[in-house]
Structures are given as structure tokens and as C-alpha cells.
């Protein structure tokens, strides 16, 4: 069987090495908090007219990025998508750079040449997404092939939503990775809607993890809102892939708790679906879990929230004060010199 349930079958590597697999609980929560607070501030800036274009947030999906980002090693490569700010933060992107980027500041990682969800840092192995869904999947696959050729046993994390599973690039990339045994975890965030289109109009299979059978690879279905469990699962998976390289489909069930973007009232989403996932808010689950496990006290959680809020406030203020790009630089850097 190619499809496994998270709780029924924890990977052998995770079982065998509990010390290594222990989740950095407060780090996961901090990553999710920074994501949520940064996005809240970005939405406010957008409604104040201080951010051009649009703002696209991940509310409800923070656990997937936080857990998968924490599960990778320093050489691993990531291609996060639209609702993966927690991947960026988890892989070391300063919140300050996110504000700079979304405000189109010249000090930002893309220097104002790109905006909103399109950013990354190749020096840290995080690829900046383009808007064409599925297009980053072969890129991270090729990047992992190159890195492994150089003797660095990298694993790749390629993110997509339920909608992108309908694209040709998804098929091409997964099949390509399968044929060449490239260790890429295709993290499918099934958040129930692609913009306004529900998953019933996106695919016919029972679970997207079942697609793995057709590629001759393993497919896993996981709860995308349980950060700690997801971290354990993925940490074990990464250990396995380093030893025996191969791609895996990892389908994380979750829910986009806001509109597609800050402009979207998401009135098309059934209220009962939102209620069901409100009861499974990934931050609430993580807080409760960490307190119940004794990893953090309620007071420590409150303190962590204050620290994160202060970091977001300071970053926002600093980025707002920084300059936009100089229009005279418009045509610079289209080509690499040499």
C-alpha cells in the first residue's frame, strides 16, 4: 500500500531515534506565531493602502510550513508556495525582510523587483516561487539532483496546494523525481479551496496521497494542523530519504481560514467547514499540546507571544522607514555579467 496514515504508521526512523526526533516545540510555536502576527500586520498595512498589489496569507495553515521547515537539515532545499510564510521564517528569513519585501523596499530580498508571496533566499536554499502553479516542483527536483551530485545529501521540499495537483507540471515533476529517485517531499497542502474552487472540482480520487500509486512512490496522508505530530513524521521521513533517496507525496489536510487574498471575503466557503477547522486551529492545538506535554507553561506561551509581537512591531516600523527602489535602476540586473 502506498498510502499510510500518520498515526497508524510512524516511520521507522522516527521510532528508532526519539531523541533526535524530539520536536523543538517552542520553536515550532514561535515560527507559527511570527507568521500569524506578521500576516495580520500585512493585512492591516494593505487595508491602510500602504502595501500595493495584494496580500495573501496562510491563516490556518501555519503548522505545515513550521513543521516541515524544522524537519530539514542545513543542506536541504525548499520551494515554498503562496501560503508558506512559516517555511520562510522557519528557514531563517528575518521578519524584517518579509516586511521590506511586501512593502517593495529596495532593502528587501527581491529589492522591489517582485512582491507579496514571491520571495526567497537561494543562499539559504529557499527558492522564490513564481505564480505558475506547479512550476517550482521540477526546479527544486533539479536543484536536489545537483546538490547530491556534489556530495551533499540534500532532501528537497516542494510545496503545492490541492489546486496545483491538477497541473501538468505536477505530473511531470513527480514522475521525473520518481524516475531518477530524487529525494523530494512533495508537500501537498490540501486546504479545501483553490481560490473559490472546492476540491470536488479539482480531483476525483479519495485522497491525493492515492496518486502516489501511479508514480510508483509512497504517499502519506497527515493532519496538517498538528505541528508536533507532523514534525515527527517529516523528521523521520527525511532521515529515511537521506539513506534511501526517493520522492514522497505528503498530503497535509488543512483549511484556508481566510480568503485567497486580503481582497477576498471568501463568502463561498461553507460556514460549517470553517467551524470544523476553527476547532482545530493549528496555533491553539500547538499551545495546548506544548502546555499539556510540559514543554511550556501558559506563562511562557504568553511571554513568547509578547516577544513575537514586539519583533513584528519593530520590523514593521523599520521597513516602513526604509526607501523604495530608485526608478533609475529599472533595467539593471536582467542579465548576469560575465
Amino acid at each position: 500500500m502506498s498510502r499510510k496514515q500518520t498515526k497508524a504508521t510512524p516511520p521507522a526512523a522516527a521510532r528508532g531515534r526519539p531523541a533526535q526526533a524530539a520536536p523543538p516545540g517552542s520553536a515550532l510555536l514561535k515560527c507559527m506565531l511570527l507568521t500569524q502576527l506578521t500576516e495580520e500586520r500585512l493585512v492591516r498595512l494593505y487595508h491602510q493602502g500602504r502595501i500595493s498589489g495584494g496580500v495573501y496569507i496562510s491563516r490556518g495553515q501555519e503548522a505545515i510550513g513550521a513543521a516541515t521547515a524544522a524537519a530539514g537539515g542545513p543542506d536541504d532545499l525548499y520551494a515554498p508556495l503562496i501560503r508558506d510564510m512559516s517555511v520562510h521564517i522557519g528557514r531563517g528569513e528575518p521578519v524584517l525582510d518579509i516586511f521590506r519585501h511586501c512593502l517593495g523596499r529596495v532593502t528587501g530580498p527581491m529589492k522591489g523587483r517582485d512582491g507579496n508571496v514571491h520571495y526567497g533566499c537561494l543562499a539559504r536554499g529557499v527558492y522564490p516561487m513564481i505564480s505558475h502553479l506547479g512550476a517550482m516542483l521540477p526546479v527544486v527536483t533539479g536543484a536536489v539532483m545537483a546538490r547530491r551530485r556534489q556530495g551533499r545529501p540534500a532532501v528537497g521540499f516542494a510545496y503545492l496546494g490541492d489546486g496545483a495537483t491538477s497541473t501538468g507540471d505536477f505530473h511531470e515533476a513527480v514522475n521525473f523525481a520518481a524516475v531518477f529517485d530524487v529525494p523530494v517531499i512533495f508537500v501537498i497542502e490540501n486546504n479545501q479551496f483553490a481560490y473559490s474552487t472546492p476540491i470536488t472540482r479539482q480531483f476525483r480520487c479519495r485522497n491525493l496521497a492515492d496518486r502516489a500509486v501511479g508514480y510508483g512512490i509512497e504517499g502519506l496522508a497527515a493532519d496538517g494542523n498538528e505541528a508536533v505530530d507532523l514534525y515527527r513524521l517529516v523528521r523521520g521521513l527525511v532521515d529515511q530519504l537521506r539513506v534511501r533517496p526517493r520522492p514522497v507525496l505528503l498530503v497535509c489536510d488543512t483549511m484556508r481560514m481566510r480568503g485567497h487574498g486580503a481582497h477576498d471575503d471568501f463568502s463561498y466557503v461553507p460556514r460549517d467547514l470553517l467551524e470544523r477547522f476553527t476547532a482545530r486551529d493549528p496555533l491553539d492545538l500547538a499551545r495546548a499540546r506544548l502546555i499539556a506535554d510540559g514543554a511550556l507553561t501558559a506563562a511562557e506561551v504568553a511571554r513568547l507571544e509578547q516577544v513575537c509581537q514586539a519583533e513584528v512591531d519593530a520590523a514593521c516600523q523599520q521597513a516602513l522607514a526604509e526607501p523604495p527602489p530608485d526608478p533609475a535602476t529599472l533595467t539593471e540586473g536582467v542579465y548576469a555579467a560575465g
Binding site: G120, G142, N175
Partner: protein, 327 residues
């Protein structure tokens, strides 16, 4: 130095072999390019010589091929991928336009990849194996476009294309693969991108062209001169982007009459860009209106009779030159 008679496709093979030998970061991949040697045998013997790790076959997946090349190029490799036919690249052109072509502008990270693409008609390939798509590629920011017409240029420009830190579309006219031969030495120097070449001198008109049409233009110019109608310069652009505008303008200044020839479609074709360049910067030098001779805006037809009518050739170039010289 002994010379060897070399076809254009053999010259491509020599360029690839040199790159594989001298540059350990070079990898080749694509459809049927391994042991089989490629649909046109451009990679013949390379997998046998350099191994499967460096020359390998892929599934049929142009977007994954381009995408993987982008990923490799941003991690220290120098991929050279082969499209079996340029026509098939259009299923995946978004990777070149949006990923490869924007990467350096957005991130400052270079994408040193080369896409080799057999193109053009003249072999009765029909609508989907004969397309001439340089205008699409030239329209993309961040991408360079090279189109050699001679074996010596092909191998020397291919080395420069592969060593360039940017995405390069390297167009190989499949009619020329085996229809054009040169006696070449075993050693050669790379030719820089962006430098056109006068392949025939002349003072009464210039043909601005590239690819297979260079050879048709040379035949037409020879005939015009033999008929005493004038001397015709033929300028082989060799690189379309970046375009050697100085060479174009110098040719216009030397001849004052301009015929632009390409086998791609007329509307929005590369000839329109050339005509605009001449109009903007050399209008005062013209003794006659700029003339374009191109394929019509129709799909590439299959039947030989139709394809001959579709594609410019020495006869139609000759007629266009006589009319231009008579203006």
C-alpha cells in the same frame, strides 16, 4: 593543421564534447539523447564517452526538463538540454519566460543553462516539426538567443552559449544539420555572443538574415551579382539577442538598401524588430523602403509543393533583391 569536412550537426557534437571534457559542471539531458545519440544524432557517442551521470535520457516532459535545468543551474551545474524539436518547447515555455528569465533580475542569482533546439523547415516536417520560433524567445527578458548558420560558428558559439551565465536558447536549423559542410581544424576558439558577421561583401543592398536563410541569401546574392544587377552584402546576425545593432547599422550605411529575410512568421517576427531598428536609427541612410521577406502567417504546411511556397528561398530572395535594387 589538418582540416576535416564537418557538417553542422557534427560541429554541434564537437562543441558538446569539448564542453563535457573541459567543464566538469556541464551535464546534458533530454529525450533520447543518451545511447541513442538524439533524434538528429547531435549527442552521438557522448554518453558512451562521458557516462550516464553526465549525459542522460529523461521522460518526455519539457517543463520538467527546463525546470530541472533551472534548479541545477542555480546549484553550480551548467546544464545543456536538448529539445527534440523547438516546437515541443512551447509546452513548457513558461519555465523559460517566468523562471529562468526572471531569476537574476529578481534574486541576483545566475541561471547558466542552455537549451538546444532544432528548428526550421525544409524537410517536410509539417506543422509541428518545422516551426521557427526565435521571435517568441527574443521577446523574453533575461534570455539570450543564438542562431548559427555555419558549422564553425555553431561549435564556437555553442561553447560561448554554454559558458554564458544566463539562459541561452541555441537554435539549430535542422535543414542545415547535414546540408552545410565546412573544412574545419580540430582546434578552435569560442566566438563571443552578440557579434554578427558579414559573409559576403556588397555595396548596393544588404540582406539581414540568420539560420538557413543565410545560405539562400548567399545564392541569391551570387546570382544578382552574376547578372550585373549590383553587389549584395549578406549579414549573418548569428546572435539575435543581444543583437549586434552596430553591425546592422554599419551594413545599412554601407548599402542604403535593406532586405530582411527569415523563415519564421511575418507578424511580430524578428524581421519586424530589425525593420524598426533600421527605421529608428538609420532612416536617413535609406534609399528605398525596408523590405521583409518572410513566411506568411500560416501554419507550416506539409506537402513539398506547399512548403516550398511557404518558405523563402534563393529564388524569392533573388526576385526581392532585383525589385529592391530597381527602386
Amino acid at each position: 593543421m589538418p582540416l576535416a569536412e564537418t557538417t553542422l550537426v557534427e560541429a554541434i557534437n564537437q562543441g558538446l564534447r569539448r564542453l563535457l571534457r573541459e567543464r566538469p559542471e556541464v551535464v546534458l539531458f533530454g529525450e533520447d539523447i543518451g545511447a541513442f545519440g538524439g533524434a538528429f544524432k547531435a549527442t552521438l557517442g557522448l554518453q558512451q564517452e562521458f557516462g550516464e551521470a553526465r549525459v542522460f535520457d529523461t521522460p518526455i516532459c519539457e517543463s520538467a526538463i527546463f525546470g530541472a535545468a533551472i534548479g541545477m543551474a542555480t546549484q553550480g551545474l551548467r546544464p545543456i538540454v536538448e529539445l527534440q524539436f523547438v516546437d515541443f518547447g512551447m509546452t513548457a515555455v513558461h519555465q523559460l519566460l517566468n523562471n529562468a528569465g526572471t531569476m537574476h533580475y529578481r534574486t541576483g542569482v545566475a541561471v547558466p543553462m542552455t537549451v538546444r533546439a532544432p528548428c526550421g523547415g525544409g524537410i517536410c516536417g509539417g506543422p509541428f516539426h518545422s516551426e521557427e520560433l526565435e521571435a517568441f524567445f527574443c521577446h523574453m527578458p533575461g534570455v539570450k538567443v543564438v542562431y548559427p548558420a555555419f558549422p564553425a560558428d555553431a561549435r564556437a558559439l555553442l561553447v560561448s552559449a554554454a559558458l554564458d551565465p544566463n539562459p541561452v536558447i541555441f537554435l539549430e536549423n535542422k535543414y542545415l544539420y547535414r546540408h552545410v559542410k565546412e573544412w574545419l581544424p580540430a582546434d578552435w576558439e569560442p566566438i563571443p555572443l552578440g557579434v554578427a558577421q558579414v559573409c559576403r561583401p556588397g555595396s548596393d543592398a544588404v540582406v539581414l538574415t540568420y539560420g538557413a536563410m543565410v545560405h539562400e541569401a548567399l545564392r541569391a546574392a551570387e546570382q544578382v551579382e552574376q547578372e550585373g544587377a549590383g553587389t549584395v552584402m549578406v549579414l549573418d546576425l548569428r546572435t539575435l539577442k543581444p543583437l549586434d545593432a552596430d553591425a546592422v547599422l554599419a551594413a545599412v550605411a554601407a548599402t542604403n538598401r535593406v532586405l530582411i529575410v527569415h523563415e519564421g512568421w511575418r507578424t511580430g517576427g524578428f524581421g519586424a524588430e530589425l525593420a524598426a531598428l533600421v527605421a529608428e536609427r538609420a532612416f536617413h541612410l535609406l534609399d528605398a523602403p525596408v523590405v521583409r521577406l518572410t513566411a506568411p502567417d500560416v501554419p507550416v504546411p506539409f506537402a513539398p509543393e506547399l512548403e516550398r511556397a511557404y518558405r523563402p528561398g534563393a529564388d524569392t530572395i533573388h526576385a526581392a533583391l532585383l525589385e529592391l535594387l530597381d527602386y
